[in-house]
């Protein structure tokens, strides 16, 4: 049944979505749907049995809470460290800025396996970390950072920092410096210029960076497996264990579903943040707002 449509340049491009959409349906949507479905159907018919088993055993709750705690700490740590750095890098010009960017992008595009491996070397018993501390006389016998969670915290911070720096930088580059000048002309002292103008305008970057770091941290497997020692376990490690060592797919799928739902909800929130603001909020603050402190 073919009806001629009014000619439009858009119409033809619509069909281009079919091939990639089918691919995503087959190898992304269906596999994820399957995880959700498997979690509901242990041998004894559709039900929440796997979830009951999951939460009856204290292990899952502990691992989930630990994962959330680590993700939160990493997010806050990244924010505190990255904000002043992004601020300085946004002010840099010319080749210093290019150098700083290269130093952020090199780790961004280096594999997590390689970076975790590097930290493993640094934090091993005879590694540089212990050597330096012993040499400085801070400690008198080698620490075991791989078992205390220190190595994991540092490793994850290191891996996630570029994910915080880049959204912050892109927000800060967009800030119109004349607004700060305007605030200063209108008598705002430097701290007020910063808090009421710069900080406010950089908030979209803060929100995007935090969401990105938090969501990504929730799914970490490589770094905790290598640097977490025996004491720490994150959800992805538990899923791996349930699936490939215990071969308990309903249980693994239930853990996976919890992680999937959690990240999906956060991802939707992140998408909302990432969308262009409504016209009213997109309006750059004018000098009057700045003076009245509602920029």
């Amino acid at each position: 049944m073919r009806r001629p449509r009014p000619w439009s340049p858009e119409a033809g491009y619509r069909a281009w979505i079919i091939l990639p959409a089918l691919f995503m349906l087959a190898f992304f949507v269906i596999p994820l749907g399957r995880v959700l479905f498997t979690s509901l159907s242990p041998a004894d018919g559709i039900g929440l049995g796997a979830y009951q088993a999951l939460f009856r055993d204290a292990v899952f709750s502990i691992v989930l809470l630990e994962t959330l705690r680590i993700a939160l700490m990493v997010t806050l740590g990244c924010l505190v460290l990255a904000y002043p750095v992004a601020y300085v890098v946004a002010e840099l010009r010319g080749r210093w800025q290019r150098l700083a960017l290269a130093m952020i992008l090199l780790p961004f595009w280096t594999s997590a396996v390689i970076r975790s491996y590097a930290w493993l070397v640094i934090f091993q018993r005879q590694g540089p970390f212990n050597q330096v501390l012993l040499g400085l006389g801070v400690i008198d016998r080698p620490l075991r950072p791989l078992n205390s969670g220190l190595a994991l915290d540092v490793g994850m911070l290191h891996i996630m920092l570029p994910f915080m720096l880049l959204p912050l930088l892109s927000a800060m580059w967009r800030i119109d410096r004349r607004l700060l000048l305007a605030a200063s002309v209108l008598g705002a002292p430097p701290w007020r210029q910063f808090v009421h103008v710069y900080l406010r305008l950089s908030l979209p970057g803060v929100a995007a960076g935090c969401a990105l770091v938090f969501i990504t941290s929730l799914g970490f497997y490589i770094t905790p497996a290598l640097l977490g020692g025996s004491g720490t376990m994150m959800v992805s490690q538990l899923i791996y264990q349930q699936a490939s060592r215990l071969l308990n797919w309903p249980l693994a799928s239930a853990s996976g579903s919890v992680l999937l739902i959690l990240t999906s909800v956060l991802f939707v929130l992140y998408q909302r943040i990432g969308q262009p603001r409504t016209a009213r909020r997109a309006r750059p603050p004018v000098a009057g707002d700045v003076a009245e402190g509602r920029a």
């Binding site: 990639p20 994820l32 750095v85 997590a112 640094i122 920092l161 996976g256």
Partner: protein
């Protein structure tokens, strides 16, 4: 703000370069480590040699893993480029209904934990009889690499007005002519960058390879991972430094391509 070099600013600058050093140092450290003459991992090395590179180059396992990574990585980059570009054009230029949801679908694989995707793909690949084969790894990794191309090409398409295509069509060019003569030349740098980034990510990907590959199709990260869990010789450092060099060259090429376009390598997902 006047940038008089007062104390706070100086401290912030010092802090910035220290943190940037912290970001780079552990990665750079692998290079001297790989030239170590010691037979166990020690930093800084007390003697120097290239024997770990010889061990790396001479190892059949490593040679095969590098080959496998290329066999997997090129099709992944090609498929991701095709799917990502098609989706970006359809969504940016096609006035599709529900384009926000569709756009989210093409970004989500970069965010959703790979472990969850892996336990979803594994039974599927078993069912269709592909498990352990190259196509299984290729299809799986294409899912997580497509968003990179999609984002890069999407940004490029938003960077110029659709009136160019409209002009071509008004002058009588068909869809394919318009694409090859107008759209593609405009987005080519983005497609090339997307291709390189997809290859890089595939080359570094571990979790899907862990579930979907077999010992004969295992990729470099998976071999490294297996090595890491039972021995810690500097051979791993040599292998790692080689990957690092290859990644660095690819990213330099991407940066060079990006110099002439609006697409940036720092376009975070």
């Amino acid at each position: 703000m006047s940038r008089a070099p007062h104390l706070g600013w100086r401290l912030a600058t010092i802090f910035t370069w220290l943190l940037l050093l912290f970001l780079v140092a552990p990665i750079v450290m692998v290079v001297p480590l790989s030239f170590s003459g010691n037979s166990f991992l020690e930093f800084p090395p007390t003697s120097w040699s290239t024997r770990w590179y010889a061990a790396f180059a001479g190892s059949l396992d490593y040679r095969q893993a590098v080959m496998n990574s290329v066999i997997v990585g090129l099709p992944v980059a090609l498929l991701s480029s095709i799917f990502g570009t098609l989706a970006a054009i359809a969504i940016e230029r096609g006035a599709l209904p529900g384009r926000r949801i569709l756009a989210a679908l093409f970004v989500a694989p970069a965010i959703i934990p790979q472990m969850v995707l892996a336990i979803g793909l594994y039974p599927l690949m078993v069912q269709v009889g592909l498990i352990g084969s190259f196509p299984a790894v290729i299809l799986g990794q294409t899912v997580i690499c497509t968003p990179l191309v999609f984002l890069a090409v999407g940004a490029a398409l938003r960077g110029y007005a659709p009136s160019y295509e409209l002009a071509a069509m008004t002058l009588g060019a068909g869809r394919w002519h318009t694409f090859w003569l107008v759209t593609f030349p405009m987005i080519r740098p983005a497609v090339v960058i997307g291709f390189i980034l997809a290859f890089t990510v595939s080359f570094d990907e571990l979790i899907l390879a862990m579930f979907l590959a077999s010992p004969t199709t295992r990729t470099m990260p998976r071999l490294l991972w297996e090595q890491l869990t039972y021995e810690m010789t500097p051979t791993i450092a040599a292998a790692t430094a080689s990957i690092l060099a290859a990644t660095g060259v690819l990213l330099l090429v991407a940066a060079w391509v990006g110099r002439r376009s609006t697409v940036r390598l720092d376009a975070a997902p």
